[in-house]
Assembly symmetry: D3
Amino acid sequence: MALVAPIEDQSASPAVRAIYDDIRTTRKTDYVNNFWKVLANDPAALERTWATVKQVMAPGSLDPLIKEMIYVAVSITNNCEYCIHSHVAGARAKGMTPQMFDELIAVIALASANNRIANGYRIEVDERFK
Amino acid sequence: MALVAPIEDQSASPAVRAIYDDIRTTRKTDYVNNFWKVLANDPAALERTWATVKQVMAPGSLDPLIKEMIYVAVSITNNCEYCIHSHVAGARAKGMTPQMFDELIAVIALASANNRIANGYRIEVDERFK
Amino acid sequence: MALVAPIEDQSASPAVRAIYDDIRTTRKTDYVNNFWKVLANDPAALERTWATVKQVMAPGSLDPLIKEMIYVAVSITNNCEYCIHSHVAGARAKGMTPQMFDELIAVIALASANNRIANGYRIEVDERFK
Amino acid sequence: MALVAPIEDQSASPAVRAIYDDIRTTRKTDYVNNFWKVLANDPAALERTWATVKQVMAPGSLDPLIKEMIYVAVSITNNCEYCIHSHVAGARAKGMTPQMFDELIAVIALASANNRIANGYRIEVDERFK
Amino acid sequence: MALVAPIEDQSASPAVRAIYDDIRTTRKTDYVNNFWKVLANDPAALERTWATVKQVMAPGSLDPLIKEMIYVAVSITNNCEYCIHSHVAGARAKGMTPQMFDELIAVIALASANNRIANGYRIEVDERFK
Amino acid sequence: MALVAPIEDQSASPAVRAIYDDIRTTRKTDYVNNFWKVLANDPAALERTWATVKQVMAPGSLDPLIKEMIYVAVSITNNCEYCIHSHVAGARAKGMTPQMFDELIAVIALASANNRIANGYRIEVDERFK
């Protein structure tokens, strides 16, 4: 059980309900996932987080699938079980193939190893990279 | 100063020198960066790390620029100064525009915030994501 | 199951039992939670960890509720499930309201996002902050 | 040097300049720190980040000094040098005494140790905490 | 359930099957654990990861038990539940006693606390350590 | 500059001075490093941290060199620059050879990569490891 109870549609305030509706419309689904229902306990947080997600994850110089995969990479590195599950699902829905997922994991693993090597030996940044 | 001295070409063993040459050829540059010169103190580590980098960062289902940006996302999350500098340089060389870099940072920041929200409230993974 | 078995009162040595009693007295409860029962496998660790908790979490320039919330913030950032549950319970027992918990999470999420922005762009520390 | 150049007032767009002015007014200072000047390269990120900071760090159920200290706790745990410097400065400006800072560090250190103990032994969450 | 299905012997390609056999032979067991069966979805990753494990975890200047304990220390700090369970099992199989495990946890906890103290106060590295 | 000034012998209280002397005697050196001089601003923290270091890092089931290397592994994973420098120096003083340091880094890198693989694919812990 989450540390606060999720808020379902029927007990949501009009403001919260309007955001749930926008989530459904934007994502073309009738499903609102637990993240939003729990966050709804803090309506201001719900509003600004959803607004940020809409803005940041929208198509831009990077397409939404790439953004989902970057989101997954951060979530794995921070070890957020919820976010890994929900954003792997999101990436798959946007077209991530099994091969792409394997390559994503492989890059994350490689970077994690090399991050520790560079930090461990305290390797100096090359002048040309600064 | 790194905790062990970088090994320059003139003092490298033939095996290490061969890897430096392969780095130069593969990357079409005459520059070998400090990461490899420090890692060369452990020739087996140099060899397997370079082989892994060549394999993992090569074109595949994900293109090399996307892989570089995922690498940067992990390096920022793990906070590896060396790796951020070297792989931002790598991503820019492969075509990352200022807009793409800004969007990359924005996704990383968003995911980091939401990772903490999900972990903090101990939000349960929706059945449909499992 | 934990990787080592918790030690219950009846099988505890007198020294461990004395610490359990001090935990009960200090916290005005008859309950000793799993953290201490598992740590009791290493009596020296149990003793010094309990002594440190008593000293550090006591009223000082910061009051115990504030300290519990800082403890929760660190536990969320390090992603310790046990510690989040036990210290959210502790903070609530000391008076943390739902609003305070929401604000705590909101600050943690904001700081996590901005930590990545600052590290990602490698923003230089302003002279006046040093 | 940051990976992108800070934007000074004279070269800022009117929208960016308006946010700089709001930062100055809100904080009762004529100084805009590097975080904002670098983030200004992405005006949408600047706008939403500043709006979030204003909303989240404002007085609420927790007072601004407590929020600053929680922010510092997260920044130390994530190891963001920039954020530690800037928010320790902010906390001191809001009244954090040397004793409060020492107690803050002591709680962070204690929580970090106990997070690893609980995760290391895989201690099960007590039923009563769930 | 893992995000991709484990591959059992009967459905493994000859190349994957050969690695499973090498794992069994090298470890003198008929058991191949889930890590490898899931990773087998990416045969190239399976091959290079197993080759690295064989090379890095073999006896060298450090004996295999010490290496297992260092592996556990990293896994606890990164909070990888799977890796903690599997490598604590591995360390016990190689001779880690309960006392050694307790001391391992104690060092990890101490280092984690002091890491935050040093980062929190931004303590300068002594000239003689550089 | 650290965020609080180090306390030198001549301005130390008798209690702090006694701990500095114990550090010198225990370590058979006339040098007290910056960690302790900064921590001395909080005499209670100085006393309990030094007592814990003496107890935890002393010879036991694990010898002091192994403990130093585990300490380094945690410090690299947490990315504490100060602690990496000071404890690599400590490990070298206790006999860590260049080969041992390379093997230490190699195990840390391998574990970091595999931690992300296991967390990323959400690999289930094998029954026999529980």
